[in-house]
Symmetry: none
DNA sequence: TATGAATGAGGTTTCATTCAT
DNA sequence: GATGAATGAAACCTCATTCAT
């Protein structure tokens, strides 16, 4: 019980450090962020951060994994609730946009700071993205199997295209001085992704 | 004649430095790249790089601007040759994919190293992207005006979605250990972008 | 108690750095002095010096201010003990000569290294000199008021002349390969400053 | 004759470089002065300065030697014209003050930039000062021998005191934002140097 | 467990000087 | 002689990380 309490305290401190890091990384950028400032803002001493994380980059990794994991869970749960692949995809994309619109500092980390170096991207960030891409790909493949989605495009290419489109919208939003609501762009984006650019000519009824 | 270096000799040295920088930046990443190595590989002394560029970041900017400008020019010229907005868009996207597939180190710089920091992105890189987005948006708007493209999606959202989809494919390719041909992915991507995910159901015969 | 360093330990380290700097600056000259050597001689790591001082020039300023302040205090206290302006001036000058004779490395800094640049002189070093000149001027003005000193010479000119004479003696001493005792030159210098060059002819009995 | 002409041209270029250096050194300070700016202002190419001087410091030395030599010559000639040691000393000091008041940039060099480092002072600048001190000392010794000057002060101490007093007045003037005429301070300074600080009491009628 | 003072590696850049033309 | 492009040595300082307390 004492252990549980101490575990709670430990967890709280860990969270404080992570949250402080999200803010500082978003404000100054990862490279220009100072561990000292992270520690200060978390209300702990410089050295204490190293009792919770291996180092600066480990904090970045932890931010990524924690949020990515949570997002993927929610996305999977959302998807599971929908029968139709179209609805599933829609739900996931909406979740994606909403998750980041609700936390701009975190969005900043995800869209920009996590894309620093090839090494980092390859070893860490893309692991989570790959996971996400697999989810998208599975939904799309299901849609293809059911005849709902076209099947003359490889599912992995489609998944990456969908991800890229969503991702770019979010990056624009993060970089904009006066961003327009992300959620508001979900509908047109989905219309586009589902129906494509071309107008469905009158030849079809 | 004094020391007046012929302009083409100067230009050759400048190019050598830029090319060396592309390679070193791609190999080690911008942050881990050493100016010494850039100079060495360009076959000049350390200080010489500073006669041609203000500093390390200026080299990154020069790489961006030089290639982005050239790409935009080619893309505009390509587009101008096509009457149909659909063909125009297709041409531009193909050009985009091909340009980077032909120079993997450069692709690396464009997809990863140029996205370092918010400051850099906002002030420099996104300037070029914005230019490119405007080109896409114009083509799409034309297509909408002519009835070729659907018009229930804002042209700027569509442009960003298209750019994002292409961009993500390239990033995957850059990060892949054994990348599949980019050009080979152009056709399915275009099919998807033009026609959307949904199968044009049997209702249309 | 955490890492709270006792104040005297901190003070000791600060002093060690300052003393090391006095020596290195005197041996190599400020420009040729290496921060690494200062740190080494102070027995701390390179970076530690920057925990105590903002930078190299800040160390030079600290040397100046610390010693100048202490000297001025002693000089004022000395002066206060004397009733007669003549005795006051004598005391201050003797103090000035002795202070530097006792610490040749420090004298070197004061006579030479602190006079580097116009900027430095104007902004920093001369501030302390001005303080000292004001002390001299006040004593001289007192002497004039009391009839002890001639009053056909502006007190500020007299103060600068006195300072200049003392200063030059010290500089000569600092630069000499085999310097003669500075204190030993105090008496003749004072005789000269008080009585002037001209012999007080026999006409005065 | 052709050689003479070329010599003139050579001499003119040498002078241009020296004058440019005086200005740049005075404006920026020796350390912050750029050889490029010296060359530019002299109207020659960077490398050309090295055909006339060994390097940057050699230019500083040349400035010193040229002007010091000329000054010493004039001072000696002035002195030779006067019979009385008092008048001789007065003439020399007035010449000293005037020479520098007439060329503030040069005065800056002499009072500040030439006092950089111990090495420089010892090896170069002080050589000229020593020469000057010898002149002063000789005059003073003459005055002592003739009974004009007191002889209870070593002539070399007196010479240094006189030099120091004059030197300090000039330094103050160089550093002052709104300097008062130097020549105007000659009379009181001389009164002080000759008569000393003490009022020659009424006992002397 | 927490602290925070201390560490020390590491790199961009400047600029006096050189030398091929 | 003149040029000016090229050279390359050299050092201050930062800051992630450690570890004695």
């Amino acid at each position: 019980m004492g252990g549980a309490l101490r575990n709670d305290a430990r967890e709280a401190k860990r969270s404080a450090i992570l949250r402080a890091a999200v803010e500082v990384f978003a404000e100054r950028g990862y490279e220009d962020a100072r561990m000292r400032e992270v520690a200060e803002r978390a209300g702990v001493a410089d050295g204490t951060t190293y009792l919770y994380f291996e180092g600066k980059e480990a904090i970045l990794v932890a931010i990524l994994e924690e949020h990515a994991k949570a997002f993927l869970q929610r996305a999977r749960r959302d998807a599971a609730k929908q029968k139709d692949p179209g609805a599933r995809l829609r739900k996931v994309i909406e979740r994606h946009l909403l998750s980041l619109e609700n936390d701009r500092a975190l969005a900043h980390i995800f869209q920009i700071e996590l894309r620093h170096s090839r090494r980092f991207l390859r070893q860490v960030a893309r692991g989570q993205v790959a996971e996400y891409l697999r989810l998208l790909q599975r939904i799309i493949a299901d849609g293809m199997a059911s005849g709902r989605f076209r099947n003359d495009v490889p599912a992995d290419v489609a998944a990456r295209a969908v991800f890229g489109a969503v991702d770019e919208l979010i990056t624009s939003w993060v970089l904009a001085e006066r961003p327009r609501s992300l959620a508001g762009q979900a509908a047109p984006l989905l219309r586009l992704l589902f129906g494509g650019l071309e107008s469905r000519g009158g030849e079809c009824k």
